[in-house]
């Protein structure tokens, strides 16, 4: 479990992962050297990835789809999904052989071809949800209230 300083540093990195250590120090009142040491620890444990979120619509990929797929149980579907560059994120969900997929396409024809491939590989149930607008994205742990929530969690673990 993290302490308050570590959570504050993490919160700053969630808001802007390209911030300099000096900027993070100014905002959190934590010395730069402490931030540097904490970053090493955070990068080994809790940080999965530092990534820039892009506007793929502007880049020629306006079709943003979330798919729920149940496969017949063979590894084919998972292997296909891992190999496809259009797949942005892939998660296993509760339920037998169920996946939640986030993907981007240039046009509907490309998306339909992708679905055909999935069906050929053994995808049984396929539900699609097209994203028509983003309201907020990757916002958890970007403000003081989230930090307070995380610290309360820490107490619950010791005093259930």
């Amino acid at each position: 479990m993290l302490n308050e300083k570590e959570l504050m540093i993490l919160s700053e990195l969630r808001k802007d992962s390209r911030q300099s250590l000096t900027d993070i120090s100014r905002k959190t009142n934590i010395p730069v050297s402490t931030i540097f040491d904490n970053l090493i620890k955070l990068n080994k444990g809790i940080v999965k990835k530092k990534v820039s979120l892009l506007n793929f619509d502007v880049m020629g990929y306006p079709i943003f789809v979330n798919l729920i797929v149940r496969s017949s149980g063979k590894k084919n579907v998972e292997r296909l999904l891992l190999s496809k560059p259009n797949v942005n994120s892939l998660s296993r969900t509760k339920g037998e052989n169920c996946f939640f997929i986030q993907c981007f396409f240039r046009n509907m024809s490309e998306f339909e071809s992708f679905k055909d491939e999935l069906n050929e590989m053994g995808a049984k149930e396929l539900k699609e949800f097209h994203v028509i607008g983003e309201i907020k994205r990757e916002v958890f742990l970007t403000n003081e209230s989230h930090i307070k929530m995380a610290l309360e969690n820490k107490e619950d673990l010791f005093f259930p």
């Binding site: 479990m1 993290l2 959570l7 993490l10 990195l13 969630r14 808001k15 802007d16 992962s17 444990g45 809790i46 940080v47 999965k48 990835k49 530092k50 990534v51 820039s52 979120l53 892009l54 506007n55 793929f56 502007v58 880049m59 020629g60 990929y61 979330n66 729920i68 999904l81 891992l82 560059p85 259009n86 797949v87 942005n88 994120s89 892939l90 296993r92 969900t93 509760k94 339920g95 996946f99 939640f100 949800f129 097209h130 994203v131 028509i132 607008g133 983003e134 309201i135 907020k136 994205r137 990757e138 916002v139 958890f140 742990l141 929530m149 995380a150 969690n153 820490k154 619950d156 673990l157």
Partner: protein, 154 residues
């Protein structure tokens, strides 16, 4: 049409958004000053945000769920504001195909997920709900992070 050089830079940021300009320059053969200008140019339009993906379970948030909801038409705007400000909601999208919102929520446990849905349903007339609990992330934010695949964009 976005130039190839720009896509190379963006692919580097998709791999590691904290990468130094020097490293990006070494990998892309684009001068540091050019990279600096490009990043400033694309900030807040093509680049939405530089963020850090973390393992929420290490903070004691052991239940993540993708929740699809359809609300009464008249309650849609108020529901949107509720989701925009709710602390447990990490991401929200407006979606089609029979639902209004896709909510990515981060909670302490499954009971908190159910409580959230109860509160949401109590405030706004829910016509339909579908909940998918995330068990494991296999791949996260991978689109456009591979230089070798940039030809598919060009």
């Amino acid at each position: 049409m976005i130039p190839r050089k720009d896509l190379l830079i963006l692919a580097e940021l998709r791999n590691n958004s904290r990468e130094s300009l020097t490293e990006i320059s070494k990998r892309t053969s684009v001068p540091i000053s050019t990279i600096f200008d490009k990043l400033r140019f694309y900030q807040d339009n093509l680049i939405k945000k530089h963020t850090t993906i973390i393992d929420f379970s290490k903070l004691g948030f052991n239940a993540r769920a993708n929740i699809m909801v359809k609300v009464d038409r008249n309650a849609r705007e108020d529901a949107r504001k509720f989701l925009l400000h709710h602390l447990n909601v990490n991401s929200v999208y407006k979606i089609s195909n029979g639902f209004d919102f896709l909510i990515e929520g981060v909670f302490k446990n499954v009971r908190d997920v159910e409580d959230f849905i109860d509160v949401f349903g109590g405030k706004f007339k829910l016509e339909q709900t579908q909940v998918h609990y995330i068990v494991e992330d296999i791949k996260k934010e991978s689109f456009m992070n591979d230089n070798s695949l940039l030809d598919m964009v060009l």
